[in-house]
Structure formats: C-alpha cells, structure tokens
C-alpha cells in the first residue's frame, strides 16, 4: 500500500509498492542494457537516509527532476511493452515531484548545503556518461532510488 515519507517537515504519501512492482517487471531487461557496470550514479555516499532530514526533500526533489527531465526524456524503450511500463513509472514519479513542489511552495523543502553538494555529486556521475547511456543507467538504478525512499 501507501507509504508516508517524512522528509524533514515535508510529509507526502506515495504508492512505492506500486512503483516497485512496475519497475520489477522491466528491471532485468533495462539493467541488461547498461553495459557500463564500473560506474554507479546513485552511490551510498549520497544516500537519502544519510542526509540531514531538513535537506532530504530538496535532494529528492532535484533527483526526481533529473529523472523526469533527462532520464525518461532520453530513454529509448526497445518495445511497446517497456514503453508503457516506463511511462507509468514516469507518471508516478511526476506525482511525487508535484507533492514535493507543494512542500517547496509552503517553505518546507529548503535546500541546504548538504542537499546541493550531494545532488551535484549525483549530477557529475550522471554527466560522466553520454546522455543515452546515462539515461539507461539511471533508469536501471530506479530500484536504488526506491529503496532510498523506502528507508526514509
């Protein structure tokens, strides 16, 4: 069912289980396309859990924006089945991002130094790769992002 994410003073409810179910259906085929297994974009040092609660909302907000603006847009699904699954995942993350934007509007999603530093590290890992390869890798790492959210 639904899970409540406490991100500092920003509290949102989301269906992580549904998102994970959708991802698990395409996980092996998406990850198999990621041939650069020496590089990981979402690394433990940028863990959401290890981030100061007040900064968690901002960090997650920026990560979701990266996924929506540069992962789902650049990802070229190999077939219609994957396309439908990926579209549903994108819509789910868009919903979460909208909720975080509401928190932002209500001043409960501040961007401290820690959030900025961690996000810039993630972005630099992402930009080490060509856009298409980065999109494939980031999509394959959605299970890491989901676990970060589950453990918040």
């Amino acid at each position: 069912g639904l899970k409540t994410l406490h991100l500092g003073s920003c509290v949102i409810t989301t269906n992580l289980q549904g998102i994970r179910s959708g991802f698990s259906e395409i996980r092996d085929s998406v990850q198999a396309k990621d041939e650069i297994i020496d590089i990981r974009i979402l690394r433990k040092t940028q863990f959401l859990q290890g981030t100061k609660p007040a900064d968690q909302c901002c960090l997650l907000h920026h990560i979701l924006r990266l996924y929506l603006d540069r992962v789902f847009k650049n990802y070229q699904p190999p077939d219609h089945h994957i396309f439908r699954k990926v579209s549903r995942l994108a819509n789910s993350l868009l919903t979460i991002k909208k909720d975080l934007r509401l928190c932002h509007a209500h001043m409960s999603c501040p961007c401290g130094e820690e959030a900025k530093e961690k996000y810039s590290q993630i972005l630099s890992h992402f930009e080490e790769l060509p856009p298409q390869a980065a999109a494939v890798k980031a999509l394959g790492e959605l299970d890491i992002l989901l676990r970060w959210m589950e453990e918040v």
Binding site: G1, L16, Q17, R20, S21, S24, R27, D28, Q31, A32, D34, I37, D38, I39, R40, R43, K44, G140, D143, I144, R147, E150
Partner: protein, 213 residues
C-alpha cells in the same frame, strides 16, 4: 578472422538465492566434456575490479557459493563464469545485476504446532539468516525486512478455514473441536518486495476432552 561460436559451452549463469544464501549456478554443454573447467569472478556494481572467487577456479562442478562475497545488503553485484574445454575453446558469461534484497527467495518458516484440547498454538522459530550485523550478531529476516508478516492459516473443514496475518511469531487458534484433525500452514510475507515463502505445513489433532460432563 572467423571467431568460433562457443556459446554452447556455457548457459544460464545466474544467482540462486534463499534467505541470502547466494549460490552462483550455470549449465554447460549438454554432453559437457568432463575436461571442461570453470572459473568464477564477481564484482560490486559501480566498482572497477573483477575479483576471483577462491575455491571456484578451474572447477568442474557447475555451482559456486558466493554468499560471503555478496553479503552486503545495500550493494548490488555481478558474477561471471569462464568455461574452457579440453580443446582450449572458452566462453564467458555474466549474471544479471544481483540485488540480495530483491532477489533472495524466502524459505518456509520453521514452526512448532502445539495441539491442546480446544486450540492449536503455532510458534514460529526465529528465521535466522546467514547475514551478520557489524557486531557479529546473526540477523533474522525480521531484522532485515521491516514489513515482514506471518500468515497463519488453519483449515477447519473442506469449506471453512481461518486466516490471520501478524507481525508476531506466535498465534493460537481457539474454539476448536477436541480430538479432531486440522491442517495448519504458516507463510512468511514481505509485501514491499512482493515476497512470499512456501508454506510450512502441519497436520495436527486436538487432544480429547477428558473433563467430566
């Protein structure tokens, strides 16, 4: 330059995992020549180096225990096998990305079913895993999966069964008929990761009622 197709030497390289006991398995050629040897390497996703698994170099069996090497639950792993046959032909194949948390199967729980006159008590023994905390303490599945639930089930007759879902490991079905056979099952469920163990099953008979009526 014609490269010879050696894919027949090696197939289905994958992890088989139960309660975090992670065994790498593979298949060789159907009529695999006895002199085909296999060597295993593993690596953590995101790191550069492939590491050789000691004890699984130039082996003839088709499995290798990588439990210790893949015991960090927050990491993701790959393994690969290289097969070399007697004629010197070789093939290398890699697993999918392996996530211990997502990919391990859950074994049925170990349960003691205790019949009484008008009830049956089911006690699940702590589901220990091979995973140890930093302090050396052996972790149970409950330590690892916060949303773990036990599904207790008792079939009363062909049409009626009782079913309860709980976090606790002990449950007692009350209001039963003395001296009667019942079929009980207990399963472990982890909703977040859509995991469910096979059921533990017990066939048990309530005690006869010897009280004077």
């Amino acid at each position: 330059h014609i490269t010879e197709d050696t894919s027949d030497l090696l197939q289905h390289v994958k992890f088989q995992s139960s309660n975090f006991e992670n065994i790498l398995t593979w298949d060789g050629k159907l009529e695999s020549a006895p002199d085909t040897v296999y060597s295993v390497q593993y690596k953590t996703y995101g790191e550069g180096e492939w590491l050789e698994k000691e004890g699984c170099q130039r082996i003839t069996r088709k499995s290798c225990n990588l439990t210790v090497e893949t015991s960090n639950l927050t990491e993701l792993y790959y393994a690969r096998v290289t097969a070399i046959d007697g004629a010197g032909r070789s093939a290398t194949k890699m697993t999918n990305r392996f996530s211990p948390l997502q990919d391990t199967n859950i074994k049925p729980p170990d349960v003691t079913c205790i019949p009484k006159v008008r009830s049956i008590q089911m006690n699940v023994h702590p589901p220990y895993t091979v995973i140890r905390a930093r302090n050396g303490h052996q972790l149970t599945l409950e330590n690892i999966f916060q949303d773990l639930r036990y599904h207790f089930n008792l079939r009363i007759n062909h049409t009626y069964q009782m079913h309860f879902e709980r976090k606790q490991r002990k449950f007692e079905f009350f209001g039963l008929t003395p001296d009667t056979e019942f079929h009980g099952t207990v399963m472990i469920c982890i909703p977040n990761l859509f995991k469910e163990s096979a059921p533990y099953e017990c066939q048990v008979k309530t005690l006869p009622d010897r009280t004077w009526t």
